[in-house]
């Protein structure tokens, strides 16, 4: 059969030269950053559909179903209130401790769960990665958006708690939208970093609970951060106050709690400045870092 092609049809050209001559591209080549960003944007419908599907399917076997989206944050807040509010009575220095605590818990949970799940974003989806072609950044983004939906539910619960404990509704509540937007971008960036790390070192998943718990204690969630700060040397205190989780939590408290206005770790302007800086650095940095590893995902 004369038309049967064999490997050495083009004796003068190396395979790479032949590929170039006919405009062939390396199969799993990493697209340039701008093109990659465009691809991720083109997959936005998949991202929203997939994250919504994940939320539905994660609760589809339970009897109470979607109700757990509200019950989980309430239970969480109740446990922490029991320990820190009732038993240890941390509430002496804080006027509205229960609202203070819930704001901290819900905002921190958003970052915590996104990061914890993001660590296995690649490894948990190897089947999908080896079956379909899409920009892999879709996976960590989905992880964050699933948690964002959970957070929005928590925010409804939080609004009820805050009102119930006697805080007034103010125009500042509207600030919650930009705050959560900044935190979402920050989380996406961080999830991407963790997803790339986690795809290389599967052991990370075992270590993350401890890292995240340490972060929880350092973020002024359960008690004012001053409690820690006063025991630390100067450099560590500075580090503690730059903690991004603390910044987002304090901003959320600034927006919601009239009673806590005097207890913020920094002035609102400083908080906004630090929050925007963290968002830009981690959001953009995380995306670029994840993109640089695009070729590697899916290798056994």
């Amino acid at each position: 059969m004369a038309n049967t092609a064999v490997a050495n049809l083009h004796p003068r050209l190396t395979p790479a030269e032949l590929a170039q001559q006919h405009g062939l591209k390396v199969a799993n080549d990493r697209p340039p950053l701008r093109e990659y960003t465009r691809q991720v944007w083109a997959y936005r419908h998949f991202i929203t559909a997939y994250s919504r599907a994940k939320v539905t399917s994660s609760l589809s076997n339970t009897r109470l179903g979607q109700l757990w989206q509200v019950l989980t944050p309430i239970t969480n807040a109740a446990v922490y209130y029991l320990i820190f509010g009732v038993i240890l009575s941390q509430d002496r220095d804080i006027d509205n401790f229960i609202a203070y605590l819930c704001t901290g818990v819900f905002v921190f949970m958003f970052t915590q769960t996104a990061v914890a799940n993001g660590t296995s974003a690649i490894n948990a989806n190897l089947g999908l990665i080896r079956a379909l072609h899409f920009p892999r950044a879709v996976l960590p983004i989905t992880v964050t958006l699933v948690q964002l939906q959970q957070l929005l539910m928590s925010m409804v619960v939080l609004a009820a708690i805050v009102l119930f404990t006697g805080e007034p509704i103010t125009l500042r509540w509207l600030l919650l939208a930009p705050i959560l937007f900044l935190q979402t971008i920050f989380n996406i960036g961080l999830t991407m970093v963790m997803a790339r790390f986690g795809s290389k070192v599967a052991d990370l998943k075992q270590i993350m609970p401890f890292v995240l718990r340490t972060w929880l204690y350092a973020s002024g969630v359960l008690y004012p951060v001053s409690l820690l700060r006063d025991h630390l040397p100067g450099w560590a205190a500075t580090l503690l106050e730059a903690n991004p989780a603390l910044i987002y939590i304090e901003l959320a408290r600034y927006a919601l709690l009239e009673s806590n206005r005097e207890n913020l770790v920094a002035t609102p302007m400083q908080l906004w400045g630090t929050a925007i800086a963290w968002t830009l650095v981690v959001g953009i940095g995380g995306f670029v870092y994840f993109w640089r590893g695009e070729k590697e995902y899916g290798r056994g």
Binding site: V6, A7, L9, P15, A49, Y50, S58, L128, F134, R299
Partner: protein, 265 residues
């Protein structure tokens, strides 16, 4: 080693005009398996390894493809044969750009698509939503998805025994699940089409329908790769065949010759 059909000089001049669509250049694929808890990993053994700094027994490498090179051209249908574990599916995934090669490179014209039955779907969601999700994952727009969903459900035939499309996929029989997955994957047109045993799923009626669909897809695709253990379906569809054995390209040539050699091994 690789046994290749020699072409005379005049045909090779004519062939050089043909457009290559897939070029594999010395491709190696290595799977790294963390044995972790599998072998000899009592806590003491692990501790001993950490202390003595020998980390090697923990990771095992499986060299699935060992330096495969070939060039495929526009309009060709190429069969891939070989015994189980010879690297056929790994090679297909590497061509599709889904499995990065450890060494070497694969060059392709356009974006190859793998038509498999293993596209991950969410078992807790209804068949309908899985269709929408699968189509979005293949890069379709929401409008296209809306238009094409009834066709896919219809093609898969899962509604033949009542309204299964609105039930979660975990309630499906394995044949129904496979049929739905194939129907989703086959809904799109492809430049380079890679088919991995996809024709083996479903009952006879569905097989006839899916073979028809693959022929249509072939007509619009530039190049088709077909992995199959059925030499008959390879003879039917492919004029060229590549024989892989143990990750090495054993033979590459006209289907008749390669199949005869494969059967006579």
């Amino acid at each position: 080693m690789a046994e290749q059909t020699q072409t005379s000089t005049n045909t090779s001049a004519a062939d050089s005009q043909r457009v290559p669509t897939v070029i594999a250049d010395d491709v190696h694929v290595i799977y790294r398996i963390h044995k972790g808890a599998v072998a000899n990993t009592g806590a003491t053994a692990a501790l001993k390894r950490i202390v003595s700094r020998t980390s090697t027994p923990n990771v095992r490498e499986v060299h699935a493809i060992k330096g495969v090179s070939f060039t495929a051209h526009q309009g060709e249908a190429i069969g891939l044969i070989g015994s189980n574990g010879s690297g056929k599916s790994s090679l297909l995934r590497t061509i599709a750009g889904l499995l990065p090669p450890a060494r070497g490179a694969v060059y392709t014209l356009g974006q190859p698509s793998l038509l498999g039955v293993n596209a991950a779907l969410l078992n807790d969601l209804s068949g309908e939503r899985n269709v929408a999700l699968g189509c979005l994952a293949m890069g379709m727009s929401p409008e296209q998805v809306k238009r094409i969903t009834p066709e896919i459900i219809e093609f898969s035939g899962i509604n033949e025994r009542g309204d299964f499309a609105s039930l979660p996929m975990r309630t499906y029989s394995s044949g129904m699940g496979a049929r739905l997955r194939f129907a989703i994957a086959a809904a799109k047109e492809h430049d380079v089409l890679l088919i991995d045993e996809a024709l083996a799923t479903g009952d006879r009626k569905f097989r006839i329908r899916s073979e028809q669909r693959v022929r249509e897809l072939r007509a619009s695709a530039g190049t088709v790769f077909l992995v199959s253990h059925s030499l008959d379906s390879i003879r039917d569809t492919c004029e060229r065949t590549i024989w892989l054995e143990g990750g090495v390209l054993k033979m590459d040539g006209p289907t008749d010759e390669v199949c005869r050699a494969y059967e006579g091994r």
